[in-house]
Symmetry: C2
Subunit: 318 residues, 2 copies
């Protein structure tokens, strides 16, 4: 199915990409400082799947965000942000929990984000969500909604109905133990999800958290062995390595300037999805992923102004 | 016991005031703005009991804070803030939940705070807390820790052991339905706590949320009927009215300039406690409460630099 030289065949649908999961506020301290006195924070639109949807719209496809926010000021901020970007917010559910929030205090040492999970894990498999799923070509989700009930059940239903209806199932295995409830083996659970996934894009850290330290080739193989059909392992400055089980390709980074790595992974997904939807062969679509990621790396922020996908062709000689 | 003309007799103890409950971060938007674009927030030390403890130390007594914070950057910030003020932090518990956070986006209309409760409700009745309770003259708590388990059980144990050991039980009945878990009748529960309380200081809004709309005198009587020994109903610009069941006193505000009302109630408690501990008669202690509150109202912020209690005597002619 994922022959690198061929493009993917999608049925005609009116949504190209449905992202399901976290839509949240990132509260990030201003500048880098380890000073105790440091006390200003910026409020940002956040949540990796929502960022991918925003990027993909700018690149030229039709995404839809399915998420849950609280009936509060931060939820309103997120919904208005989507609407200002021209996004349909009909699949954003409003629930009686605080809008999920991540606080990041930047630091020269390791900045440890603090997760305040509220509305995001209250997402349910509504009739609207089911209907959107049947109308999309690709569905995307990360580990966030899998880490906790009741949204986990919603994602399980999404996967089941996606597979029954020929929707491409794409998963960001961004596993982190801090997201999981104490006492549950998140790694074990993720390994029950991977066999149902068409495309997974782990980073080296993700792979290590799931499978322990190993060579990139071995890590790829572990995902393939579990049944993932196309695995892309991103290697930071060393580019990426991808395999469909028959063929493995190694690709260099296209980045020339690295200003901020936040959102680089989401940018990769966005370029990949947009290129796949636009009918580029898988190998080219991976290059578009690297190109959009390289573009994003030049700028600060998780979501940056992206031009249409086609402009990347000449800029990055794809 | 609360004869207005007499001072309270305390046993000799090495802590004057133990505050038990919420210690949290307030993330407050900069300036007043309803603009969607508005995105800067200030991080503040917060939690009403902790503020009262900070104030009381500045006024000249020996307070101790018993709270729970997360093992994270915001918890560290709170603990360091206490330490810089010279406070003993041995009763601050460190738990595996995110440090509790309140996000307030200021607005010309009603700014609705969003509560992110984490560590604060994980406070437990440890041996350290029990030991501190037996060593204090006064114990203070608000509705926050009563709203949720397991900290509710800790407070119930605090109340029981305080009453057994002659510790004055003081309660801020700042009831708000948003704090309570859905489905539980918080008002009904608070009414089971009030009979065990020596001093309660509701605001008019608190009283209305608990008992419905009524005259100040009738509201006072409802608290007294439930068994509270001294009730102080604060009336904003109209001062306060207090009753011990035999005698009722009406006091005018001492405020001449109102810059920021945040923390005015905590300032009142702080002045009252400090004066009671320093041996002033109850009536005078109430005036010190109003004086410290009036002083605080001139400045911005929940906790302001307060001089020693005695300076208020001449400044406000007490």
């Amino acid at each position: 199915m994922f022959d690198f030289a061929h493009s993917l065949k999608f049925k005609e649908k009116d949504i190209d990409l449905l992202t399901v999961g976290e839509l949240l506020v990132d509260m990030i301290s201003e500048g880098y400082s380890d000073s105790y006195e440091y006390s200003m924070y910026h409020r940002y639109f956040g949540g990796s799947p929502a960022n991918i949807a925003m990027n993909s719209k700018r690149l030229g496809i039709r995404p839809l965000v399915a998420s849950a926010v609280g009936n509060d000021g931060l939820g309103l901020f997120l919904v208005e942000h989507l609407q200002r970007a021209g996004m349909d917010t009909s699949c954003v559910q409003h629930v009686n929990e605080a809008t999920s929030l991540v606080v990041v205090t930047k630091s020269k040492s390791t900045p440890v984000p603090i997760f305040y999970r509220g509305a995001d894990y209250r997402l349910t498999y509504t009739e609207e969500l089911r209907s959107a799923l049947l109308r999309t070509k690709i569905v995307h989700f990360s580990c966030w909604p899998l880490s906790r009930q009741p949204v986990r059940s919603a994602i399980e239903q999404v996967i089941r109905d996606a597979r029954r209806n020929g929707v491409l199932v794409c998963f960001d295995p961004n596993y982190h133990p801090a997201l999981w409830e104490k006492g549950e083996d998140g790694v074990k659970y993720i390994k029950t999800i991977l066999p149902q996934v068409d495309i997974a894009k782990p980073s080296e850290d993700d792979a290590e958290r799931l499978f322990g330290k190993d060579t990139p080739e071995n890590q790829l193989q572990k995902f393939l062995d579990l049944g993932v059909k196309l695995v892309i392992l991103t290697l930071g400055k060393d580019g990426a390595i991808a395999s469909n089980g028959q063929e493995t390709v190694k690709m260099d980074t296209l980045a020339t300037q690295v200003t901020d790595t936040t959102g680089a992974g989401d940018a990769f997904w966005s370029g990949l999805y947009t290129a796949l939807i636009k009918g580029y062969p898988v190998r080219k679509a991976l290059e578009f992923g690297l190109a959009v990621s390289a573009y994003k790396l030049q700028y600060t922020g998780a979501v940056v102004e992206l031009p249409e996908l086609e402009t990347f062709k000449t800029k990055y000689q794809i």
